[in-house]
Symmetry: D2
Subunit: 146 residues, 4 copies
């Protein structure tokens, strides 16, 4: 059985997600990408809660996020967020989120998270343990450009 | 110096608070009442964090909230939430929030919170300690009807 | 075939819906009830957009909402909002929302909306047309008490 | 009198803005940057509503946003969003938002918006009119790197 490297998260745009122009208020795209990120780690069997217990980390703190908006979305649009791991460095992971309405890409986002330990209340980035890197590497795919 | 029994919390309605009709998406009124509630307890010098430390409670769990909507609000409206304590029972507190735009009342809300301890992971309501009741009683005013 | 009078709306509690206590920040329950309300009218084939076109109304302005909170909800909880029409007056409709996690009722909410026309920029309540009343009456059920 | 090129928008982090870690749920930073953007155009006397009336545009559609997160923020933090115009191209404007808690930069964001007309329901980018470019150029400052 081949490994599923891109994980899908489905949602419906609701009335309260839209602004006075009748289109999605853009911070909601980030909320959906965050939902998709939690779902991603869970679906590849590396849920954040499991990683926290195993490696004494406190979540995967966010370093950078971005999004390119390609098509406005409206109430009742059904969107699919397709999430993939596209980069692993010594202490960071980069996820790409491609959000589609049917076959149209409406938004392309990315987030970089760091592997970090809490030390005296401060967040200190750490090298990702080798065994973790090994697991994540199996899911790594090439970042798509738009 | 007389005691200030009604505490004001000011806010500006923003674009992202409004729905496709161009008016406030109503759950935001509840968010603002919640902001006003935290502000209320702090301003009467009984911040939730202080009460948690002194009495081993975990916040003041919410039992009931309601709101009556009298006038639609739009982007750039300046609103004042006027919060008062209007009822104290053996184990509950009731706050009333009157939200005004200049002299117009746009929304009247209320929330009932319980005094509760955590016991084996369950929330159990408890009698409000007498000393706490005594302090809160000084701020008690009559609920306004609209 | 019997008429489906209670309409279900399903959702998953996400990380970003929760507050520092790790439980749902309560205004989100109202957002979900609003989502469920749009879904309700659509599913009984009386979508708000259709009613707007047929009767020259501007939505169904909200008069009052309330909610009783019975059990805290956490990330990954699957919730079902069960929405029913429980009261029709001359110019208002009342919906009840019962929110369940499996067989546990976690929240019971209600909303009263008015039938209104826009007249010179002002919202004026109107008698619900008889044909509309007749349709809605078929869906009317008794409000549940908790 | 010298021209004020960087516009400040002040806010307080509230309980409901924070996630189960007790820190700001990151999409809220984008909401605050959006609030600051509306405020920016208004304060330089080029409010979006005015531009819409004068030039038959429909807002300034968003093309790209990003943010770098430097320090976690908590309830009751007072934040200042400092917004500046940092780039003007033929049909786009780029704003940079530097968010500070006292003297600490907690987040650096940017947004690129396009000058566009609505044509048969489609958004078509257009050259920014020269008179508009001229006004905006007076506010242009160099993008800061972090």
């Amino acid at each position: 059985m081949s490994l599923e490297k891109t994980i899908k998260y489905k949602l419906k745009v609701e009335w309260g997600d839209c602004d006075p122009y009748g289109i999605v208020f853009y911070p909601n795209f980030y909320k959906w990408m965050d939902n998709a990120q939690w779902n991603y780690f869970k679906k590849i069997n590396q849920s954040i809660s499991k990683l926290e217990k195993l490696y004494n980390i406190k979540g995967l703190p966010l370093l950078h996020t971005e999004a390119r908006f390609l098509s406005a979305c409206k109430r009742e649009d059904i969107l699919i967020v397709e999430t993939s791991l596209v980069k692993i460095t010594n202490s960071t992971l980069k996820l790409q989120h491609i959000i589609k309405r049917k076959n149209t890409i409406v938004c392309v986002g990315a987030e970089i998270r760091i592997w970090a330990e809490k030390n005296n209340g401060k967040i200190i980035s750490k090298a990702i343990p080798n065994e973790v890197k090994k697991i994540f590497s199996k899911y790594l795919i090439k970042e798509k450009k738009y």
